[in-house]
């Protein structure tokens, strides 16, 4: 019996990397591979069975069975140094690290953390013999840093589960009533409020859309404030544009509320400048919502043909693309159909198999199988 122990800086509920980590453990367990989850910090409600770095004795785990250590790299953390010192073979799963130059001016301490993350990622190339990446975009970065063995395994998602969450009935009724009363298209974007997620560019595009096409349109921005300063700037910007009634900041929401938001959305819009994968894009596909997105970083790879991809976030072009989707039912249907096809490639069974196969190859190469 061998084990794959996963290590990550923070295990948090409703977090893409946290969910991915838990799903990896499930997939490997089904394949007969045991494993623990070790995190620098475990946020309440993040799932049981995980332990903190402080309470982990690596030598004890190593003595129990031969093990591979898999580190989830997404930011700078002392946990990366703890991981580097672990005994035995090591691999990383790279989810990308936001460029510090975008976030740093808003949140200098986060900028420092992100720069440290990039430095640690480069240093781990000498420590980790194998590397998985969510996307070819992430893999290219790893190759550039000198990682020799790399393989793309998308984030483990369950599309059926995403689409199957019953919407919050009361909220859905209220949203549908407003739509019926006011008319207008509903734009939706889901992500924490952070400068690299481009909510400010989305608001600019939305303002242009209201001006040229649809004065009754609404924009819903779902997600907690990842940067308080940026969130305040967005709120002030919206107020300056006199769009307070049209732009909703919901903060973090429940799965049921999110399902209701997707149910009424006419278009999922993303002006994000940096995505290592982009889980909400897949959620939009699962909910049958057509996508209009800035073609940045890994977005084109994740979206495939399920959305209109724009070369820049120029407000006029963005607005025109959304207008096209909301007024051309055949195009919207073609995009959602393409989304369903893309989902089939990303479903949990397929990506779970890819992951188990990839881990199997790593274990064999490490002499653990």
């Amino acid at each position: 019996m061998v084990a794959v122990h996963q290590v990550l800086p923070v295990l948090a509920p409703r977090d893409a990397i946290g969910n991915h980590t838990l799903r990896i453990r499930e997939a490997l367990r089904r394949a007969g591979v045991a494993g623990e989850i070790v995190a620098g910090e475990i946020v309440a409600g993040a799932g049981d069975g995980a332990r903190t770095v402080r309470r982990t004795r690596p030598s004890r785990l190593a003595a129990a069975e031969p093990a591979l250590w898999l580190y989830h790299a997404s930011t700078g953390s002392p946990v990366a140094e703890w991981f580097a010192d672990l005994p035995g073979p090591k691999a990383i799963d790279y989810h990308n690290i936001t460029p510090a130059e975008i976030v740093g001016p808003w949140e200098p301490h986060v900028g420092v953390e992100l720069r440290a993350g990039r430095r640690q990622l480069a240093e781990l190339a000498d420590v980790a013999g194998w590397a998985l990446a969510d996307s070819a975009y992430n893999r290219a970065e790893l190759t550039g840093l000198g990682y020799r063995w790399t393989e793309v395994v998308p984030i483990l998602l369950d599309a059926a589960e995403l689409a199957g969450v019953p919407p919050d009935a009361a909220l859905l009724t209220a949203l549908e009533a407003r739509k019926a009363a006011e008319g207008g298209a509903d734009w939706l974007f889901v992500s924490r409020l952070l400068p690299h997620k481009g909510q400010h560019d989305l608001i600019k595009a939305f303002a242009a859309y209201r001006l040229a096409y649809d004065p009754a349109a609404r924009l819903t921005l779902v997600g907690a404030a990842g940067s308080a300063r940026y969130a305040e700037a967005l709120a002030d910007f919206v107020a300056d544009l006199a769009l307070d009634d049209a732009v909703a900041f919901t903060g973090s929401v429940s799965d049921a509320e999110l399902a209701a938001r997707y149910r009424v959305a006419d278009v999922y819009t993303s002006a994000s400048a940096h995505e290592g994968f982009g889980v909400p894009l897949v959620e939009a596909m699962a909910h049958g919502v057509p996508i209009v997105a800035l073609a940045s970083s890994a977005v084109p790879e994740t979206v495939g043909t399920a959305g209109i991809l724009l070369p820049s976030a120029e407000p006029a072009a963005f607005a025109a693309a959304v207008h096209r989707v909301t007024t051309d039912p055949a195009l919207a249907a073609a995009l959602t159909a393409a989304g369903r096809a893309r989902l089939a490639e990303l479903d949990a069974a397929t990506t779970g198999r890819r992951l188990v196969d990839a881990v199997g190859r790593i274990l064999a190469a490490a002499g653990l199988s």
Binding site: A316, A320, A337
Partner: protein, 344 residues
């Protein structure tokens, strides 16, 4: 089994969206200053340092170099406020000691950078990065620019556009074009004429654009005065900013403009000077573009000429042809347009 989704002709769709934008701009549904105004509105709330202005970044560093030792004690759960206050009081001696040292360190660093900045300022005073607008008004070059960007896949950017003469010609020819110029007065004048001209530095603007986001970039103005490192940088960014099949057009006054000393102060003090067409061809080729053609540009003013001989002078036809060639060699403008295309 998942049914194959209907195929979407992405190229046609992109072209239709681009045409829609162009038509809406022409109809005034997207006002000419829309993007500039939206950018300016949000910039009011962005912290210093999100842009490229060194003084802003340094000011932000100075502000942030003070480390606050009074940890916030707010909490959604009332009892925790009290706990936090007690902990803050108990730990104050420790936190303040650390905060003072970190503040002192950060203050020393920002002070050192400030002193360094002063030295750079002094160097820049000796060798100014920009002296004055010395290249001719690019308006006369508009037909060449219109011809060079015909059919490109996307929006066209003109740097530095001045009051927008080339942008006007492009828009009138049905091209979705905008300009940038560091002179606010020029940008405002262009906006008054219904053109989208933004106040920005050419290289800084190109650096902010995503790769492959434009159909063409028309470079003029500052390119004749840039230091060599900036020439390489602007060529690289312009090449990156255009999509496959797009073009980069260089409109240069040509080296003779400096020798002709139309503006001797600028010619003597600028960090760079107009390059030969061959040099731009080399630079753009290195940036991954294929050179299509080089064309002479008309002079800003009617050129001086050597006086031709009267037609009845024996041999006048031959001599006048030579005088004409000599006039062009001596007094010709020497400006050129170089058109380079990004391969598919």
């Amino acid at each position: 089994m998942t049914e194959d989704p209907p195929t979407i002709d992405v190229t046609r769709l992109a072209a239709e969206i681009a045409e829609e934008v162009r038509a809406r701009r022409a109809a005034g549904d997207f006002p000419p200053g829309l993007e500039r105004e939206l950018d300016a509105m949000f910039a009011r709330y962005a912290p210093a340092g999100t842009g490229d202005d060194f003084d802003d970044v340094l000011a932000a560093a100075e502000t942030q170099s003070f480390i606050h030792a009074d940890v916030p004690t707010g909490s959604r759960r009332a009892p925790l406020v009290l706990v936090k206050r007690v902990l803050r009081s108990a730990m104050a001696w420790y936190v303040r000691f650390l905060a003072q040292q970190v503040t002192a360190f950060a203050g020393s660093i920002t002070r050192a950078v400030t002193l360094l900045a002063r030295r750079v300022d002094t160097l820049e005073t000796v060798a100014p990065t920009r002296v004055a607008r010395s290249t001719p008004d690019p308006g006369g070059w508009a037909p060449t620019a219109v011809d060079a960007v015909a059919g490109v896949p996307g929006r066209v950017l003109h740097t530095e556009s001045g009051a927008g003469a080339v942008v006007r010609a492009l828009v009138d020819a049905g091209v979705d074009a905008y300009g940038v110029d560091p002179d606010e007065g020029a940008a405002v004048a262009a906006a008054r004429e219904g053109l989208d001209v933004r106040v920005d530095d050419a290289l800084a603007h190109l650096r902010r654009l995503p790769d492959a986001s434009l159909g063409a970039v028309v470079l003029s103005g500052c390119i004749d005065e840039l230091a060599l490192g900036e020439v390489l940088a602007i060529a690289g960014r312009a090449a990156a900013a255009v999509a496959a099949g797009g073009t980069v057009v260089v409109l240069s006054a040509g080296p003779r403009a400096w020798a002709g000393a139309t503006d001797p102060v600028a010619a003597d003090l600028s960090p760079g000077r107009p390059l030969h067409a061959e040099t731009w061809a080399h630079v753009l080729t290195t940036a991954g573009l294929a050179i299509e053609r080089t064309l002479p540009l008309p002079a800003a003013a009617p050129p001086e000429r050597l006086t031709p001989l009267p037609a009845d002078v024996p041999g006048a036809e031959i001599l006048n042809a030579d005088l004409d060639r000599l006039s062009r060699a001596v007094f010709g403008a020497g400006g050129y347009a170089l058109v380079a295309r990004k391969p598919h």
